[in-house]
C-alpha cells in the first residue's frame, strides 16, 4: 500500500474528505433539526399558555388560532392576581412551603446530628424507625390524619397544612450520610476548643455541608410547593388554599374567562420557574440526590 503512487491517491482522498465533511455537516443540520423539533414539542404547552394569557378572551377561541400576540393584554395578569385570587393563593403557598422547608431542615439536621455524632441507647433502632417512614406513602394515611386534624380543630387552617410535614425521613437519611463524612480530627479539635454540640453543629458541621443542605432544601421546597391531595382535603376557603388547589378552583369556576385561567396558571408556575433559573445546579443535585446517593 505504501508503494502506491501519491498522485492517484490524493484526489481520491480529497474527494473522500469532502464527502465526509459534507456528511458531517448534513448530520449536524439534522441534529439541530431534531433538537429544535423536540424543543418545540416540549415547550409548546407553556408557550401557548403565555400567548393565550396575553390574547383577549374572544381571540383565544378564534380559528385559525393566533400563535403570536400582536397586541398583548397585560391587564389579564392583574385580573388573575386580584379577582381570581392568585395573589392570596401564592401568599398561602409561600407561607406553607417556607414553614415546611425550614422546619424539615431543622428537625432533619438535629436528628441526623444525633445519629452521626452522639452515641446513645437505641440509636440504631430509632434510626431504623426514621427510615421506615420512607415506606409509608402519605396517600395511605390521609383518612386518620384528616380525623386528627379535625380533632385538633385545625380544619381549614395553616397548621393543618404544615404540622404533618414537620419531619422528613429522607432529610434525616441524607444529612446523616453527609455528616458521617465529617473528619474525626475536626470533632476532636472542636472538643478541645470547648465547643458544645450546638456550636460544633452550627460553626463546623453545617458550613462543611452546604451542598447537601442546598440540595435537600430545594427538594423539600419543591415537594411542599407541589402538594395537592392533602391541601385539597383539609382546606375549604380561599384564605388558606394553596396555589395548586387555587389553580384547580380557577379551572372550574373561571372557565368563562379563559384568558384569566391561562394568566393565573402562569402566575402559579412563575415562582418555581424563577427558582429553576436561579438554583439550576442545586435543583439538579436535589432531584438526582435520590438516584446518586447510595
Amino acid at each position: 500500500m505504501r508503494a502506491e503512487p501519491l498522485e492517484t491517491k490524493a484526489p481520491e482522498e480529497r474527494r473522500a474528505q469532502r464527502a465526509l465533511a459534507l456528511r458531517r455537516r448534513a448530520g449536524r443540520v439534522a441534529h439541530y433539526a431534531l433538537l429544535v423539533g423536540m424543543a418545540v414539542v416540549v415547550a409548546f404547552p407553556i408557550y401557548i399558555t403565555v400567548v393565550n394569557a396575553l390574547l383577549p378572551s374572544a381571540q383565544i377561541g378564534a380559528r385559525p388560532p393566533t400563535l403570536f400576540p400582536t397586541h398583548p393584554h397585560w391587564g389579564t395578569f392583574v385580573t388573575a392576581f386580584n379577582e381570581a385570587h392568585l395573589g392570596i393563593y401564592l401568599r398561602n403557598s409561600a407561607i406553607v412551603t417556607i414553614a415546611i422547608t425550614a422546619a424539615q431542615l431543622i428537625t432533619s439536621v438535629l436528628a441526623a446530628y444525633a445519629f452521626a455524632f452522639i452515641r446513645f441507647p437505641l440509636r440504631a433502632v430509632i434510626f431504623m424507625v426514621c427510615l421506615a417512614t420512607l415506606m409509608v406513602p402519605a396517600e395511605a394515611t390521609i383518612l386518620p390524619n384528616y380525623r386528627t386534624i379535625e380533632t385538633f380543630g385545625w380544619y381549614n387552617t395553616f397548621p393543618a397544612l404544615i404540622v404533618p410535614f414537620l419531619g422528613s425521613g429522607i432529610g434525616i437519611f441524607l444529612f446523616r450520610q453527609a455528616f458521617l463524612g465529617v473528619p474525626r480530627d475536626l470533632r476532636d479539635a472542636a472538643t478541645l476548643d470547648g465547643y458544645g454540640h450546638f456550636r460544633f453543629l452550627t460553626r463546623v458541621v453545617l458550613p462543611l455541608n452546604r451542598p447537601v443542605t442546598a440540595a435537600f432544601g430545594i427538594y423539600a421546597f419543591l415537594s411542599a410547593w407541589n402538594q395537592y391531595l392533602w391541601p385539597l382535603i383539609v382546606t375549604q376557603t380561599n384564605s388558606v388554599r394553596t396555589v395548586q388547589i387555587g389553580l384547580r378552583q380557577l379551572s372550574v369556576t373561571n372557565f368563562n374567562q379563559i384568558d384569566v385561567v391561562f394568566a393565573g396558571t402562569l402566575l402559579g408556575a412563575l415562582p418555581i420557574f424563577v427558582l429553576l433559573f436561579v438554583f439550576q445546579k442545586q435543583l439538579v443535585r436535589g432531584l438526582t440526590a435520590g438516584a446518586l446517593k447510595g
Binding site: F117, A269, V284, G294
Partner: protein, 315 residues
C-alpha cells in the same frame, strides 16, 4: 470506646468511683441531648405516619353504617376479603397498572432520547437543555390546567388540531381519557427524567465510546452495548420512581377527569379519595388504603434493594 465530641477523652479510670460516676452522668447527659435532637422528628412521625398507618388497618375491620349516626360494626377480616375480591378494586388496580404502563416506559425512552440529543457539545446546547428540563418547574396542577384548557372541546387548541372541535372532547371519551391523562403526565415528568438521564449520560466515559468507535462499532451498537448498560442503574431508578409516582398520581385525574368518563380513569388512589371523602365509607376506603400501602411497600423494597446493590458496587 471512641472519643465523642463534648465528652472529652475516655481515660481508663478503673477503681476511681467518683470519676466513673462523672463519666456515667456525662453519658446520660449525652443521651439526653441526643433524645432532645431526635424528639421533634419522632413526635411528628409518630402522630402523622405510624399512628395513622395502624389506625387505617384497624378501620378496615369495621363496616361503615349507611347513616352517620348509626354504630359501625366490627367484621374482622370479612371486609378486607370482600373489598379486595370486588370487581371495583380489581378494575381500579388494573387501570392504575395501565396508567403506569402508558407513562413509565414512554417517559423513560423520551428522557433518554432527549438526553442523548442534548449530550453534544455544540453551539446553543444550553438553551435546549434548559427547555428540555423546564417542565420540572410545572406542578401537576399547572400541567393539568394547561392541558385541561388545550383539550377543551370548545376553545382548546389541541382539540382543534385533533379535529375534535365542537364534538365530544378527548377527556370525555372513554377510550381516550386515560391515554390523554397519561400524555399530560409524561409531559410533566419529561424534565425530571431528562435531568436524571443527562446526569447519568455525563458519567459515561468518553474514552470507552471512543474505543468502541475505533473498533468499528456503529453508533447504534455503541448506544446499545456501551451507553445503555452504563445507564441501566439510572433507568432502573427512574422506573421504580415512575411506578411509585404512577400509583400516587392524583392531581391530574382530579383536574382533568375526576375519574370519569364512566370510571374510565378511576385509578386506585382516586377510588380511595372518593370512598373516603365523597361517599364517606371509611371502612371501604381504609381497606383500599392498606392495599395501596402494601403495593407501594413492595415497590419501595425493590428500590432499597437496588440502593444496597449500588452501594455494594461502589465500594
Amino acid at each position: 470506646m471512641s472519643a465523642r465530641p463534648g465528652a472529652g477523652n475516655a481515660r481508663p479510670e478503673t477503681g476511681n468511683a467518683r470519676a466513673r460516676e462523672r463519666r456515667l452522668s456525662r453519658a446520660a447527659h449525652q443521651a439526653g441531648v441526643a433524645y432532645l435532637f431526635v424528639l421533634p422528628a419522632l413526635v411528628v412521625f409518630g402522630l402523622f405516619v405510624f399512628y395513622p398507618l395502624v389506625k387505617t388497618a384497624y378501620l378496615g375491620f369495621f363496616t361503615t353504617p349507611p347513616a352517620p349516626n348509626l354504630p359501625s360494626h366490627y367484621v374482622g377480616l370479612t371486609q378486607y376479603r370482600s373489598v379486595l375480591s370486588s370487581s371495583d378494586f380489581r378494575e381500579s388496580l388494573w387501570r392504575t397498572v395501565q396508567f403506569v404502563l402508558y407513562t413509565v416506559p414512554a417517559g423513560i425512552v423520551l428522557g433518554i432520547a432527549l438526553a442523548m440529543l442534548a449530550n453534544r457539545r455544540i453551539a446553543g446546547i444550553g438553551i435546549f437543555r434548559t427547555i428540555y428540563s423546564s417542565t420540572v418547574a410545572t406542578s401537576t396542577a399547572v400541567a393539568s390546567v394547561i392541558f385541561f384548557t388545550l383539550l377543551n372541546p370548545q376553545v382548546g387548541l389541541l382539540s382543534y388540531w385533533l379535529g375534535k372541535k365542537g364534538g365530544a372532547g378527548v377527556l370525555q371519551s372513554s377510550s381516550l381519557a386515560l391515554p390523554a391523562v397519561s400524555v399530560v403526565t409524561i409531559w410533566q415528568n419529561i424534565g425530571f427524567t431528562f435531568i436524571l438521564m443527562s446526569a447519568a449520560l455525563q458519567s459515561v466515559p468518553e474514552d470507552l465510546l471512543e474505543a468502541a468507535r475505533v473498533d468499528g462499532a456503529s453508533s447504534w451498537l455503541r448506544f446499545r452495548a456501551v451507553t445503555i448498560p452504563l445507564l441501566s442503574p439510572m433507568i432502573f431508578f427512574a422506573t421504580i420512581v415512575g411506578i411509585i409516582g404512577g400509583f400516587q398520581a392524583f392531581g391530574q385525574i382530579d383536574i382533568l377527569t375526576q375519574g370519569g368518563p364512566n370510571n374510565h380513569t378511576l385509578v386506585l388512589i382516586y377510588d380511595i379519595y372518593q370512598w373516603a371523602f365523597k361517599y364517606d365509607n371509611t371502612g371501604y376506603a381504609a381497606v383500599l388504603s392498606v392495599a395501596l400501602f402494601v403495593i407501594l411497600l413492595l415497590l419501595t423494597f425493590a428500590q432499597f434493594w437496588y440502593f444496597q446493590r449500588r452501594v455494594f458496587y461502589a465500594r
